[in-house]
Symmetry: none
Subunit: 123 residues, 4 copies
DNA sequence: GTGGTCTAGACCACT
DNA sequence: GTGGTCTAGACCACA
């Protein structure tokens, strides 16, 4: 597995690992069902603590990209991706509805709301 | 008034009462100026000592959530609007944070997100 | 905060912590907006590593129960709970639809499917 | 045939081709017995050396995914049904695991879950 | 061998 | 003070 980690980057190492893996899954370089390097192996390969790799793998599993099986290894999850994205889309819409409701009820300024929104998006 | 008190809980009963009331005030279930049940009435209703209710009401008054008027009863303090706005502001921010997180994790297009946001706001 | 941790339990410590906190949130003992003990404080109190507490808090944050703010502390999230449960309900339904679709397409035995389902539920 | 090849990717091109084809076979986009484009045709189509395509096809034949018949072309191997069933079985298990996880995390009633499951199965 | 959990430190950034 | 990240070990359970 090819991974370039920048120690001096402000992006946490586990996040860099997550980004690299998701981009490879989304581009098809990592096919569904394919095995990933074991956490220890990858840790040795890129000179990073096992726990850091584990954290990246754990989060990717919760997000639906990977699937771990004790004693067997970690694999690219079957392609739920469209399903997951649909769900996340709906989740976003319901949060927006909530925001709109609150803004209406408490007459919060729309311009302020938009500025806030841009702030969060640009992070 | 809806209150669920657990006798076997490690949380002191007066604290459970305080939690329930503040949560109802902040969520808007108890509107500002609204009358709370009298100490004796509530004590009878939930089978709790009058002293315990009084302690809860007293502390809530000290903290600015309630206001008791001699001979008239206890009311939700009117100056909560700022408190509530702050609370709602934080609520909106937490929703936006979630939207931003999801958008980052699943690489959702920012322009589409903004369009959606305008859609909900203009409703 | 009152927490009883069993070191000899098969349930991981971080899971025991999560269970205790969610049950207190759902029962109202922990009101929305209320501060939780800091990770270090709780770690000292129950004699557990800071990282273990952190893991429990982290997962509770991802699940929508808590909200952490750097430099300030960790708080019970505003009551999105009904919203989140609705979303999770829909998520479950879409997974079930997927299962039903696959089972239909590949004529997988329904009884085997049910047995499998019971197996996973009873874990 | 839909193939996206990245020249600047760290994954060797023949591996990218293998990944794309296995993924399409396992997901059913390529049905058993279906003909694949000829080596020369595919090479021309995606602007890749004939040798590279041949290497990918050869390895996929060794792994049992494809079957080439002298003078006729290359086809998806017919005995994939078991492979696919295994894959689908694992897919179903992963969905069930997700359902069980959500149900545990958000304390969703098991009976309701079973009723829902029967509903979807009987459709 | 694999992943799953846990520890006891450390340093950083924010307030 | 708070949370956020990371390390270099350890032991367990599964296969």
């Amino acid at each position: 597995m090819k991974l370039i980690i920048r120690n001096n980057s402000p992006t946490p190492i586990y996040q860099q690992i997550k980004n690299a893996i998701t981009s490879q899954i989304l581009s098809g370089e990592l096919a569904e069902g394919e095995a990933l390097p074991s956490i220890r192996q990858l840790a040795a390969e890129i000179q990073i603590s096992v726990m850091t790799i584990k954290k990246a793998y754990d989060e990717l599993e919760k997000e639906g990209y990977l699937q771990s099986r004790q004693g067997k290894g970690t694999f690219v999850a079957p392609k739920n991706m469209e399903l997951i994205r649909e769900q996340k889309q709906r989740e976003i819409e319901s949060y927006m509805q909530k925001i709109a409701d609150i803004a209406n009820t408490y007459s919060i300024d729309r311009q302020a709301l938009e500025d806030l929104f841009h702030l969060f998006l640009k992070e």
